[in-house]
Amino acid sequence: LNAALGRAPRQRVRFLPAPAPGGGGALELVAARVPVLADHPLVRGPRFRKLKIGAGHRLDVKASGVFVLGIGHGNKLLTDLYNCHLTKVYTVGGLFGKATDDFSDTGNLVEKTTFDHITREKLERILAVIQGTNQKALLMYSNIDMKTQEAYELAVKGLIRPMGKSPPIITAVRCLQFALPEFQLEVHCLHETQQYLRKMVHEIGLELKSSAVCTQVRRIRDGVFTVDDALPRTQWNLQGIQEAIQNCQLKVETELEKTL
């Protein structure tokens, strides 16, 4: 960044003494545009000495996926995005038959169970119940009086969301793949942590009268940022970052205007 061309030095009009065109010795003041010495690169020093980088919603060590960062002025946008309370989408992979103490497949084994009685239909039924109870929690924590007409209209459009602190809420779950003993879910959630998602996988296992551990948690969408906008490891350079910021700027602005 510092190697890039900085701001051109400011110019100032100064009256400098210059030898007169006539005879020698007499000095005359001539107006000339000279660069200000204070703007000289050797005086000013490098433009950026440190960068303020802020992080968006947390991502575990064992999880992967989209991680939003803000640079410089973007940190203020980060707080605004946090107050928008937009949903995040995860792909959660699970494995039936095991139960561990930290709900993931790298923990200490607690129990092994059979799982051949589980079918995709049973799993989808459990997911429907999870969605149902979380839907109720969504309406309750949004702190809207249920008796008003506007509450009804928001509920019809599906726009009721908790706009403050709330426990983790899952707005939608869907089963993407099911191949015993593995399965994969797509989860849309609010205010959650990855460990909560792993615990949810464990509870799904318990409900199906077996046990399950979580093998993979991958965030594929965080508010307006999707995996397509995210920079892979090979593009962690200045140009990649600049392009990504430019691409996302418009999206972020429209979303903030819509919500706040």
């Binding site: 038959g97 084994l109 129990e111 092994k112 169970t113 059979t114 051949d116 009685h117 049973k122 039924r125 459990i126 429907a128 119940v129 969605q131 149902g132 109870t133 839907q135 109720k136 309406l139 249920m146 008796k147 008003t148 007409q149 509450a151 009804y152 209209e153 509920a155 019809v156 459009k157 599906g158 939608a172 869907r174 849309h188 409900e207 199906l208 009268k209 077996s210």
Partner: protein, 434 residues
């Protein structure tokens, strides 16, 4: 050489893997594990209609009487209950078993709407409040072959439909709603009389109780009615009481009716072609789309252009229909389910499917069944979720709150809801466990 005092160190990956493979495998449910059928009740309990005696008379010192059960509570039953009906303070549960006991009743029994329940203290008298599901003795000719198909309850009378022995009626008969001649000054409390009705043009396939009248639908698609008719709810062309089931004419003559419904004083019938017919009370604009009169005593066709209608249900002041596409329409008076601003309408208004869980994420959710209480509505989706809305009289909605619900709200039931029966202040649902 391993000696004492030598540390073991953390287990290596190979040791962990071997330990895991050697661990015992527990089996909680085998491949043939079947889903169990359960019954859940909620609402006002002091009448005994919930069937849990400990709510009314606590059997342990620390228990307190529970006046209202605000969330679904599991009711233990001996047999699998196939049909349930809620009346005005009492409940009937029926099972399709071939055993001698096929119907159980609980709640108010002041008019013998639950048959004669012999009191243990005094063998000549009967119980006026039945707190537990008690068997109802039906005078069947072949008790070990006949099956009970359906039960229905009104304000103070009940109907039991069997597959080969017609319809049994019991309870209050002051308006002829039990299908037998009205006896002056008859005392209904502690009565042993259960009347049997067999004279219909074909086998009866559905029985429905209104507040003080009864409707019978036969296999041929005809509808019979008896009982109080001051609001025209018997649909027989007059406003008098009828004590013998009589065939209805009017716009439904010759039409194959596939479903009848009533709970208060208004009645709706659905034909196999998707048309809906109504008669009875119209003070709350239920039939205002065809007539200005407040009582309609002949079935009239309701010309609604909302699609082919699959099912209809009547509440006390409002009506609800379900179309083939799975959309729900409401009209009438009261809390109809479209927010606090919609209080009355004569024309059916659709309830947006997004309130039942439909969204871009799950676009195949449809409403499969609708049911009405006196001022509540209930809808079941094809995923087995129960939505209720309406006046929350004594906690009958089951939402856990005491406030009225102006738009459909999910009831959390641990299982897939198969059927629901709504009463005035309580509800019963048949649920299959996961």
């Amino acid at each position: 050489r391993r000696g004492l005092g030598v540390a073991v160190g953390p287990p290596s990956t190979r040791q962990l893997r071997e330990a895991e493979e050697a661990a015992l495998v527990f089996q909680y449910a085998g491949k043939a594990a079947r889903r169990k059928d359960r019954v859940f009740v909620w609402g006002f309990s002091y009448s005994g209609a919930l069937g849990v005696p400990s709510f009314v008379r606590p059997d342990a010192g620390w228990k307190k009487p529970r006046r209202i059960q605000p969330t679904p509570y599991r009711l233990e039953t001996e047999e699998k209950i196939s049909s349930a009906a809620c009346g005005y303070g009492f409940t009937l549960l029926a099972s399709t078993t071939r055993d001698i006991t096929k119907v159980w009743g609980m709640g108010l029994n002041k008019d013998s709407q639950l048959g004669f329940q012999r009191s243990r203290r005094d063998q000549t008298k009967g119980y006026e409040y039945v707190l537990e599901p008690s068997p109802i003795p039906l005078p069947l000719e072949k008790p070990q072959q006949t099956r009970v198909l359906q039960v229905s309850c009104g304000r103070a009378h009940s109907l039991v439909l069997t597959d080969s022995e017609g319809v049994f009626t019991m309870g209050n008969n002051s308006y002829g709603q039990c299908g037998r001649k009205v006896v002056e000054d008859e005392i209904y409390s502690g009565s042993h009389l259960i009347h049997q009705l067999k004279e219909f043009d074909s086998r009866v396939v559905q029985v429905v109780c209104g507040q003080d009248h009864s409707l019978f639908r036969t296999k041929k698609g005809t509808v019979y009615a008896c009982g109080w008719g001051a609001d025209g709810q018997t649909g027989l062309g007059h406003y008098n009481i009828t004590s013998v089931p009589t065939k209805l004419r009017g716009d439904i003559a010759g039409v194959n009716i596939i479903q009848v419904s009533s709970y208060g004083d208004c009645c709706l019938a659905v034909s196999d072609e998707g048309d809906v017919f109504g008669w009875g009370n119209s003070e709350y604009l239920q039939l205002a789309s065809v007539t200005e009169t407040t009582q309609v005593n002949v079935p009239r066709h309701l010309p609604f252009k909302i699609g082919k209608i699959k099912e209809a249900a009547c509440a006390g002041t409002g009506n609800i229909v379900l179309t083939e596409e799975g959309n729900v329409f409401v009209w009438g008076y009261g809390i109809l389910g479209k927010g606090p601003n919609l209080i009355e309408t004569a024309v059916p208004e659709m309830i947006p499917p997004s309130l039942f869980g439909w969204s871009d994420f799950s676009p195949d959710i449809r409403v499969a069944h609708v049911c009405c209480g006196l001022s509540q509505f209930a809808a079941l989706t094809n995923r087995g979720e129960l939505f209720v809305w309406g006046k929350n009289l004594r906690g009958c909605l089951g939402t856990g709150r005491m406030e009225d619900q102006y738009f459909p709200w999910r009831v959390t039931v641990p299982g897939e809801v198969v059927d629901v029966a709504c009463g005035v202040d309580h509800m019963v649902s048949m649920v299959r466990s996961f």
